[in-house]
Amino acid sequence: MATATHFVTPEEAASDAPLEAVVVRFAGDSGDGMQLTGGQFTLSTALAGNDFATFPDFPAEIRAPQGTTFGVSAFQINFGSSAIETAGDAPDVLVAMNPAALRVNVDALKPGGLIIADVGEFGPRNLAKAGYDSNPLEDGSLAKWQLISFNISQLTMDAVKPFGLGNKEALRSKNMWTLGLALWMFDRDKAPIEEWLKTKFAKAPELAEANIAALRAGHAYGETAEIGGQIPQRHIDPAPAEPGLYRTVTGAEAISIGLVAGAQLAGLKMFFGGYPITPASAILHHLSRLKEYNVTTFQAEDEIAAIGSAIGASFAGSLGVTSSSGPGIALKQEAMGLAIITELPLVIINSQRGGPSTGLPTKTEQSDLYQAVYGRNGDAPMPVIAARSPADAFDCAIEACRIATQYMTPVMLLTDGYIANAAEPWKVPDMSGYAPFPARFHDEVPAEGEGVNPYARDEKLKRVWIKPGTPGLTHRIGGIEKNVGTGHIDYAPANHQKMTDIRADKVLGIRDGIPEQEVTLGAEGGRLAVVGWGSTFGPIHQAVRRARGRGEDVSHIHIRHIWPLPRNLGDLLRAYDRVIVPEMNTGQLKTVLRDQYLVDARPVTKVSGQPFKIAEIEAAIEEALQ
């Protein structure tokens, strides 16, 4: 999805699919270390210069019973020599560490795709746990795929034998053996992984050595004649990319450092109040290690305390930030209303997950758009922006900080479980290219006889920010409606009308400070616009590119500013005969677009906890064009 880093040529845009790309899925028991294997394979992919996108897919249970289908953890990576924008529709290679992993994942595999299975785990017990009556490795049921099976468990134990580990401990290195084989398959350097293992096990060098031995054994296994010919070795050329420094980044990392950058650009200390929740906790973890950037992190007693403390910190002159996922965001809504009526800056990160209620904690969804735009009691307008990819989340976090401090308002940044966990290559930005937006604290004492009005506004309707501790400016704010001119409690009907209008106008006015909506791919007008937001960017972009390659008149419009929407969006949408809106919910942006512009936006929805496949969007495009 590293779109910003690639020059997409017309030829490439017209081509059916990336020239050379491979999708590999590692699947095993949650205790098999598949996420680690995937993460390190991703690193090696990055170092090889390929573009890539990943999709970690793991169960909500920490240690589900071994060998069960609901305990299967998988990591998919799509990498290639040209722009990669999704984690791939269907894997070319499936590594199945046990029968359950095979059962859950095999149907996704491309016909003719390659299965690599660990025979050592295909005993009667594990087969029964996965619901197999007979051994699929032997009964011919996998005939439409290529199958290579050997005893990875035994080979791993043999490799680590010299280190005197018990069987159980020895088997833990299975994932490194598998990774070694994968590195060989794609002609990768093992050295960086070995370095990483030495650092990871610095305190237990014997474990580092054992894992390195397993890694080397897997690599050597590919090299030797034992399976020679069965697994062709493939070399994927580096993807074209702008020269510069690159790193891998997950959405959670990008948001964390984006928040730090945003606070620094505003010239403020940052206060982060959080409460553990999947998949948002990673942001709290990252930020709690960045104290030298004037960041205070606070693990609160609950979601409400997390946002309450953040608002308190903003009142005291810091930039308050809180982060959560669906159910936690629901708990924070009342406090968001307070931040709206007291007009304090606040950034709220919502890493969306499947809902309602606890829903699907580790699966992705975009179903909190209503909650973001229409949430809270009363007329409570709040800016909302949405990140489209892990790397994009960095700029979105900065944008959220900018809007919050420049307009004195809470801002919600929507990401999702997919963006939070997925990694992609990111061209390290030059920070000198970001214009600072210093926050200003009001400190002018009013003339004798004049009161302090904390609701005095500038031309953008932004109110003054007065830090407690400032002499001569003591004042009180709170959740009760305040007089438009004095800031004192005022229940008068006309005053409430005025203040409600001002709050709405202020937020709507943010439109004047954001870019007009651009067409991401295609023409400004035509037969069909595919309008997306958030993490559906990759599949929509690829699907539109393919359709355009076939000569279809279709364009991709991707919206970052969900509220307020860009000023020109209505006119832009009316320039197309048809508008479809693919979303991982039951049609939430579609509703907003219809409401705001009276356009006949049609929903394309998916709520399976899995990202859209390119083919699914292509099918929707074909249908819409009929």
């Binding site: 081509s15 020269p243 997390a306 308190g312």
Partner: protein, 340 residues
């Protein structure tokens, strides 16, 4: 106002019309706080009053300091953010029995166990006033109210026992109209850490005189005012509190001729946590009501621990945004992009 000006109670009063019911105990507490402020040597701009929701939570609007009237039950959370963002501020939390012990019980517990440096004034009137008279978590069993027309059936919580159980390091009690309230406030302010004060506050409309059995002038003999190092005497010195060492329980003893020593009357040691637990749990009737500073034993504050750890973690690290964004596993691309 310059540094040299001696402030008065008036300097801490806003020009806002106070909107409590005539005769409400809140007026007396407001006056006591405004009178105490100048004696604390604080500047109005360095003081923040934070409240939740309820009659008492209107308090900040009447204090000429910084103030934040927040949401129901959550004042401690805002106070925590304020204090962590600027530890120099003098933070006061104003709350009630419903605000602090029903909807906000969780936050009250955590602000106390963390020991955030602040003063928590819990106005206990054993009733929901603002919502027109429903029973509260401190209402006695059998309380008749609009929501409990046949009497409440649940047993009340004791605010001070809750505070001690939550790990509070300063627990005190006062009475809205009593002359000793400023002394209790001063002691609370002098304590570094979370200072918890339960103030018996009379709700004239919905729960009038509920505390009269010990607050009324003629019942002042039922007040046990505790002073460090002094014997626990009440009823004009005619009675005292002693420890029944076999039963490990307190008992009331008669004191004759001022000879409290031979009657076995305890000397108040605010650091004695076990006795503090017994004092706050004394059933009224057989016992008087313990008032004043019941327990005080300072411990490091939350914000100081946070600041210390933040500073330690930052030692030797130079903040550099460019380095931060480029951190981790990175690689250099040198070739110009090629056209496919």
């Amino acid at each position: 106002m310059n540094e040299m000006t001696k402030l008065t109670a008036k300097d801490f009063a806003t020009d806002q019309e106070v909107r409590w019911c005539p005769g409400c105990g809140d007026y007396a507490v407001l006056k006591a706080v405004q009178r105490t402020m100048p004696e604390l040597g604080v500047r109005p701009e360095n003081v923040v009053f934070v409240s939740g929701i309820g009659c008492s939570s209107r308090f900040p609007y009447y204090m000429e300091t910084y103030g934040f009237h927040t949401i129901h039950g959550r004042a401690p959370t805002f106070a925590t953010g304020i204090k962590l963002a600027n530890p120099e501020l003098d933070v006061w939390i104003i709350t009630g029995d419903g605000d602090a012990l029903s909807i906000g019980g969780n936050h009250t517990m955590h602000v106390l166990r963390r020991n955030l440096d602040c003063q928590i004034l819990l106005f206990n009137n054993e009733i929901y006033g603002l919502t027109k008279g429903q029973y509260s978590p401190t209402s006695r069993a059998g309380t008749r109210s609009p929501s409990t027309p046949f009497g409440s059936v649940d047993r009340p919580v004791s605010p001070c026992a809750f505070a001690l159980g939550s790990g509070a390091r300063f627990v005190a009690r006062g009475i809205d109209v009593h002359k000793n309230l400023p002394d209790v406030l001063k002691a609370a302010h002098g304590h570094r850490g979370a200072s918890f004060i339960e103030i018996y506050q009379n709700c004239v409309v919905y729960n009038d005189d509920v505390f009269a059995p010990f607050t009324a002038r003629e019942n002042s003999g039922n007040q046990l005012w505790l002073k460090p190092g002094e014997p626990m005497l009440f009823a004009g010195g005619a009675r005292g509190i002693a420890l029944d060492r076999d039963a490990l329980a307190l008992r009331v003893v008669d004191v004759e001729g001022g000879d409290w020593q031979s009657a076995g009357v305890l000397v108040h040691d605010p650091k004695n946590r076990s006795i503090a637990h017994m004092l706050v749990e004394m059933p009224f009737g057989t016992f008087p009501t313990a008032l004043g500073v019941i327990y005080e034993d300072p411990a490091p504050t939350f914000e100081s621990a946070v600041i210390e750890q933040n500073a330690k973690a930052a030692v030797g690290k130079t903040p550099n945004l460019q380095a931060l964004v480029g951190k981790g596993q990175s690689w250099e691309v040198t070739k110009e992009p090629h056209v496919i």
